[in-house]
Assembly symmetry: C2
Homo-oligomer: 326 residues x 2
């Protein structure tokens, strides 16, 4: 049976450590996937890696690709087409989408990864059809997305919705590179924060399972904590509970500020599921104003780790359609 050309676009999700890409057809089916490690790559290496990644996916779908969207963990200055204040990638000040379009020979677009994850969830996932929706993505960092009146809200310059940099504990731990603050959600609820706290615990408690894992030379990171917690380790569970409680403070703020219909929680850290969302919902109920708290549905992302790729593809398709119209 001959394959019909599917008018694919490619979505690319850049995280702090890896890039994932896929061709996505009009029915939102992902037709080819590929990934590359990008941790600590310098700019020339990163651009070469991403070019090779997109080319691999194009070949996988025999070149039938109309454009590519990039979701990047970065403030975007949409006025000037620049990646600004990137926390995890060496692309600060770069007209990233324009550079990639030039290299790839197809139209390329970029938006903040948190915005695009919510675009996917709002289009076809856990926030489908909602007028007022917020997404919090717990990955290496913490990304945010906001839908108001059914549309993504990006702020005056496209730099809004940085919910990960909402300060909830003014004297709390230092936030990540690129953020000058402390006690932001990202400093308390991210995979990096979980790894930091787990490592500190492991060093202080060498007889604990985390301490033993450290002594065995294992990498003390979020996935290990989640694995141990599901395996019944109370210390790992306590670390996840505490992370969930901080998320709950963030949810209380989101409820009071936005009175949204739904908050979608996604990202790799959400592999721990209800071990995080349970405490988060409890703190939300305890600390938000009663009316918006009762109205708010808190739900895991439908697309899990795929939300970024799907959202980036949807965004590219949206922008291509606007070009045709304009």
């Amino acid at each position: 049976m001959a394959e019909v050309p599917a008018e694919c676009v490619i979505g690319v999700d850049l995280g702090g450590t890896k890039a994932v890409a896929a061709a996505v057809d009009r029915e939102l089916a992902m037709r080819h996937r590929a990934r590359r490690e990008i941790l600590r790559q310098d700019l020339p290496t990163l651009l070469a890696t991403l070019t090779a990644l997109v080319d691999e996916v194009r070949e996988g779908v025999r070149g039938e690709v109309e454009g590519v969207g990039f979701g990047i963990p970065c403030l975007i200055d949409q006025d000037r087409h620049l990646a600004a204040s990137s926390v995890h990638l060496p692309i600060e000040g770069l007209a990233f989408a324009d550079v990639m379009a030039e290299r790839l020979g197809i139209p390329a677009f970029m938006d903040n990864d948190g915005n695009l994850a919510l675009l996917a969830e709002h289009h076809a996932g856990a926030a489908r059809g909602e007028q007022n929706a917020v997404m919090i993505t717990l990955g290496t960092g913490v990304a945010g997305g906001i839908v108001i009146a059914g549309e993504l809200y990006r702020g005056a310059q496209g730099a809004g919705a940085e919910l990960g940099h909402m300060i909830v504990d003014a004297d709390g731990p230092e936030c990540g590179p690129g953020c000058p603050s402390r006690g932001c959600l990202e400093a308390l609820c991210s995979g990096s924060a979980l790894a930091r706290d787990a490592l500190a615990f492991a060093r202080n408690a060498p007889d604990s399972r985390l301490g033993q894992a450290l002594a065995q030379g294992r990498d003390i990171n979020g996935p290990l904590v989640t694995e141990l917690a599901f395996d019944g380790d109370p210390d790992a569970a306590t670390l996840l509970t505490r992370l969930g409680e901080w998320l709950g403070i963030g949810l209380a703020n989101v409820a009071n500020i936005f009175n949204p219909d739904v908050v979608v929680v996604g990202g790799g850290v959400m592999a721990a599921g209800e071990l995080i969302l349970g405490p988060a919902r409890r703190v939300l109920a305890d600390r938000a104003l009663a009316l918006p708290a009762a109205h708010l549905r808190v739900t895991p992302a439908r697309f899990g780790a795929d939300a970024g790729v799907l959202g980036a593809a949807l965004f590219a398709r949206e922008r291509l359609r606007q070009r045709v119209r304009a």
Copy 2:
């Protein structure tokens, strides 16, 4: 010279301690003003006080009034026409606007006081013409307002924009009645918070000017602190600096979440002006992400204490126009 009927509406601003009303004409001129104390009144007394207040203003403009708008320091459940979760007034669960319309015999409307203060500033004041604007009103409590794409944002049920209940210090001081949380902006930047901290200081430092004022039986409140600070008292100035620094944390969050063009700061506490805004701007610059912080203009309200009354009148006029259309 005969006075032309001016198609006035009445705006009423309910604070925690007093209600102010005025008739407002189409040019936003306030044609008659009146006020009443409402502190700790029970519901029947409060409704009678407000009825007398509005009647006084109607008589002042010879009855030529099309409707009345109320700005109230309260979550509004716009779906059900109810005042919900009021922190400072005994109107929780009441169809407040409907009750007042019945008593007054003219159309009555209500919205959150923070929303309406921003409506006035956005229509003709410090946020005029901006697409993305936020207002923080520092009064007995802390109220908020949000303009997105040129329109007031109220959230799913009309309960959004409660920026005073954004938690910035998770283990901070208890918030006011009606809020179950602690370390909210209202618990740190309101007139009540300032009075609380000033009283604690006065008790601990009887030789200070605040301590002497306490010994003389003076009321230790926000206006006294501001007066002493302008008069050169370093302790009072320190209290205002600290309040301004907490406001700066709130502004950093607003910058990162909304990437707005302007934040307007109003309310009675802003009588201290740059004694508060100076430290607030410094903390904003230190703790927000660089791009939104550099874009953001922070400015005092134009209408000062009148913003609530003007906004309530504008809101009534807006709703009356919608009725005519419908």
